[in-house]
Amino acid sequence: MKAEAIPAVPDPITAEQARAMSQRRLKKHHVAIVIVHWFNAVTWLLELATGAGLVVSRHFRVAPAWFTALVEGVFGTRANMLRFHEALGLAWIVVFLVYASFGWRTYLRAEVMHREMGLDRNDWRWLAVRAARLVGRSREALPPQGSYNAGQKLFGWLVYTMVPLVMATGVVMTFRLIGPAVVGWAIPIHFAAVGAVLAGLMVHVYMGAVFPEEKSAFFSMVSGTVDELYAYNHHFTWWREMKLAEREWMRRHDREAEGAVAAPVPDADEPGGTESPD
């Protein structure tokens, strides 16, 4: 690969460049992430359906009667439904505990969280432009984004704060821990936390499954890779890091010909960006 100049800001590209970039793929997600994502998606779907189906009291019901009857019909009895809801919830918690115990260094350390999930000025600007564009009020270009765009980051934060609450309250209810007062409070907290995630989830699903601009992101959750053109357009900052890392890798490869280089490069085991880019 020829050493082209890597732009510092997203320059317009030619059609030829675009075609070439759309043929090249960058690795974005580890296969484990892909699996966990879809396990998570299925779990949420089932837990939402059974959870909504479980609440039948006039005071608290959120799903219409036909829906609770439907879900109950699927499970035979509501007691079975409750058992399923609890068992799947516990399985979900176990999967995430395993995931967290293996992946916490990669995904959950403070500096990683700060770099990957921290919102900077560009991000806030991105949110404003994105929202305006969505409702057709703006055609302004989106500011460059890292491996996660600001919307994904916000949703990430929502998930990081709410999911532990959902898990903790779920465990309290399943095992009826501490006392009725605590179980009593666990229910509205469980509900509210799920509700908050649900609101974000709707955007997440819409963006991923319906919104055409993010089609590549959707397929990246199957293949684990994105094409360079999408990365350049949607996650420029990340694309640039990738390219710089790639350049560094090649430079090391050609060490005897080239001299020492002191260009700052990301750590070798950082998320998303440091897999071998072929």
Partner: protein
Amino acid sequence: MSRYAMVTDLRRCVGCEACTVACSAEWNVPPGHGRTRVHRTPVTGTFPHLRASTFVAQCNHCDRPPCLDACPSGATFRTDDGIVHVDRDLCVGCGYCVAACPYDARFIDPVARKADKCDFCAARLARGQQPACVTTCTAGAKHFGDLEDPASDVYRMVYLEGARRIETAEVAVGPNVYYLGRPEQLALVAASFAPRRPRLPAAGEAWRRLAIPLVAAAVAATFAGQAIAFFNQLRKGEEDFEG
């Protein structure tokens, strides 16, 4: 269809607690709790002109049971014969029903950590037996039967002898446990056992009045935004978004 009711004859009841213990033994209720409980009204009057009465309280199997709506999971349900049951498989032990019962007839079983209360010994009824408290009552004060059966004791006591329910104008949920006795006994029991307003615990209120509207608003707002975006998308066509 049957409509079951219990009548306690205050002229007979001596407050011996046989019902309490028979019930606890029948249903393995942990000590300190009871599906039936014996109460004593306060002694009223001035020595030596005094009045007092013993009486038995249990789930009233109300026509309009407040516990039914308070129970989020539907663990509490009412069958056509009027019996209000607790399905232990569905109970999560939140205690909302305990707060909702105007007669304090429910409790959280500290061993199972689930709601418990009288179910008129439904399992015994299915075997053709009377409820345990009725069978054991030393004074023969407890009577159980079907209000739709004119030959039953309870029919006679309720419709012919004036057995009454303990309810107030404020809280009238249609209890199906009746009391028969002299007027002053009934007055004493009614005064000391007046039902309180059904309520939800703070958690239930927070859920109902705060969490549900907020979540509904958030979901609705999100949905509305997306609808606009989707509409936009359709209007413009997909190509427009590329690049």
